[in-house]
Amino acid sequence: MNNKGITYSILLTVLILFLIAANLFFGSVDIPADAVIRSLWGEEVEKASWSFIVWEARVPQAITALLCGAALAGSGLMLQTTFNNPLAGPSILGINSGANLGVALVMLAGGGTIATGGITLSGFLSIVLGAFIGSMVVMGLILFFSTLIKSNIMLLITGIMIGYITSSAISLLNFFATAEGVHSYMIWGMGNFGGVSLEQLPYFAIFTALGLLLAILLIKPLNALLLGARYAENLGVNIKRTRNLLLISTGILTAITTAFCGPVSFIGLAVPHIARLMLGTSNHNSLLPVTLLSGSVVALLCNLICILPGESGIIPLNAVTPVLGAPVIIYVIINQRRIQYFN
């Protein structure tokens, strides 16, 4: 990592700590700061519900946002490099709608609902597995199409089409589902970092860490892929194996986040651009760590914005992320002649 990368990493880490604290202290229910601190230390507080809220809602939510942000941003970066396409991302390529479909199928087959299913380990695993298979199938399809379609834009459109098909499959599933199921599906579809309970959190963290670790191990071939597949191959990169590992890593990361937080949009697409613009490099040695940290920052920030209305409710996550993400993409597109990494 170069000096700039280290500086930004430290800065972002400090920012993350600050945002985690903010996420613990603020929520839709007003809890005095000292009560939050005492709850965290495991001490008695005036109201039992406060301790419950801190431990069962705010702590898991903050950690989930931290991990989700990193996971989505990381998979976005990997997709952009794999397809040599700055506009690739898990939501644009239809990969998280593949995960949606997997989850919806598991839900219907299991008879449960997405929102309540999976408190047990087996329930958790079946949902993750469904999401994983769903996202891998779409990812595989996109990879297959990428061998046929050379134009980046056409490939993106193909991804969007696949997204539509999976969406209509999900609508069809909803048609046969119970009213209760449809409602919980709709809630889930709005995105929410509160989908992981304290009991599920360790599993969620392990899977996410696994995907992120795999991403970090792929830094060297990712850099080679900037030269295109044939150059990378000449530099000793096993293209097939690397693509498969990238597929598995993005598959795990997209699946796990989508299964529990819903189809969170724009973080995967926009954050890698924010990181590149900040660092001024597409060298993954510093770009990947900074992207992961920036993803966490953005996700924690979005989670804070969601609770702004206070007692009256929570803004859906997917109403916030596009407001932050879309302007970044528009900026990047307008300035693409000036931005180095496009040329």
Binding site: L226, R230, Y231, G236
Partner: protein
């Protein structure tokens, strides 16, 4: 001193395999590529230059026969070994605009670096040496997006150099470059071949430069397969004519360029003491549909070029003098 053989092919068959079907592009190919030599691969579009290069760089398998690189069968190489043996410069689009030139060339060290691709002292020394060698050291900290086409090509050559391979293959490295850059790149490659004892093979359409700087020529055509030899042997054995077996194209052995064949309906005899003047006089006449004869013949037109401003034309027994080609051609075409 006997030069080391870097590539040797025996009865090689190249082409594409889809399922059980084979589409053979060339077969019975026999050739050698030696260390310390710059070799140019010439051929018309669609004759299989790229297929040959791809086969040599192991981007696609050969269909049969034997292909040895540095004394070992190409398909016995591991990925890592291969990446240290064959360096390539391709025409593929890259996405490295956001890397500095130094970082881009550093990617060429990947066959030698560890798991995370960290550059150690030796790597840095090799990179700096390569940048000096290709003359791009002053751009080390620039983004590759800011380079001109010629500079970018130099950076890619440096990338191939730091791989420290005995063999470098280049696919049309001078395409899209202006004359100055083309000559620069060809000179650079020739110097690298000689100084670093590398075997360098490049495909090109730039015949002019190839004839000047190439130690060996490989001519590839559908009709004659692959013909290899020292550049001058190839030329003086009249093999250049085989390259484009097209009746409207002929090779000018004196000037080393291809010309369209003249189908002159009119004849003219030309004489001049000045070789350059004679050449360009004939050029002007050929273009305007005159077939030039060097022997004087009273029956046809006759032109004596004394200087570019003194052109004596004898037409129907009447002599006129013209002070420019503009005036001369006006008179002739009238």
């Amino acid at each position: 001193m006997k030069k080391k053989v870097v590539i040797s092919a025996n009865d090689l068959r190249i082409g594409y395999r889809t399922g059980k079907q084979e589409k053979i592009v060339h077969e019975h190919l026999n050739f050698q590529l030696l260390a310390g030599e710059l070799t140019c691969l010439l051929g018309a579009n669609g004759t299989g230059k790229s297929t040959l290069l791809r086969t040599l760089s192991a981007s696609q398998p050969s269909l049969g026969g034997e292909l040895q690189i540095a004394g070992k069968n190409l398909n016995e190489y591991s990925e890592k070994e291969r990446s240290r043996t064959i360096g390539v410069v391709l025409t593929d689009k890259t996405f490295t605009g956001g890397l500095t030139v130094y970082e881009l060339i550093g990617l060429g060290r990947q066959p030698h670096t560890g798991f995370f691709g960290r550059l150690n002292k030796e790597d840095k020394r090799v990179i700096e040496e390569a940048m000096e060698n290709v003359g791009i050291a002053n751009k080390a900290r620039s983004y590759t997006a800011e380079l001109s086409d010629g500079e970018r090509q130099k950076a890619m050559i440096a990338k191939a150099l730091v791989q420290e391979c005995p063999l470098i293959l280049l696919d049309e490295p001078t395409a899209f470059l202006d004359v100055v850059s083309r000559i620069e790149i060809m000179h650079l490659l020739h110097r690298l071949a000689t100084e670093q004892q590398k075997a360098i093979l490049l495909s090109t359409h730039d015949i002019e430069q190839a004839l000047v700087l190439s130690d060996k020529l490989w001519l590839l055509s559908k009709e004659h397969g692959l013909q290899c030899g020292i550049t001058e042997d190839i030329i003086l054995n009249h093999q250049m004519e085989n390259l484009f077996p097209h009746r409207d194209i002929r090779f000018d052995y004196e000037h080393g360029v291809y010309y369209p064949t003249v189908h002159g309906e009119k004849e003219i005899s030309v004489e001049s003491q000045d070789k350059t003047l004679l050449h360009w006089t004939m050029n002007a006449l050929n273009r305007n549909g005159f077939e030039c004869k060097q022997i004087k013949n009273e029956k046809v037109l006759h032109l004596i070029a004394t200087s570019p401003h003194e052109l004596h034309l004898t037409m129907n027994g009447k002599e006129t003098c013209h002070d420019s080609f503009e005036n001369l051609l006006q008179e002739l075409i009238k």
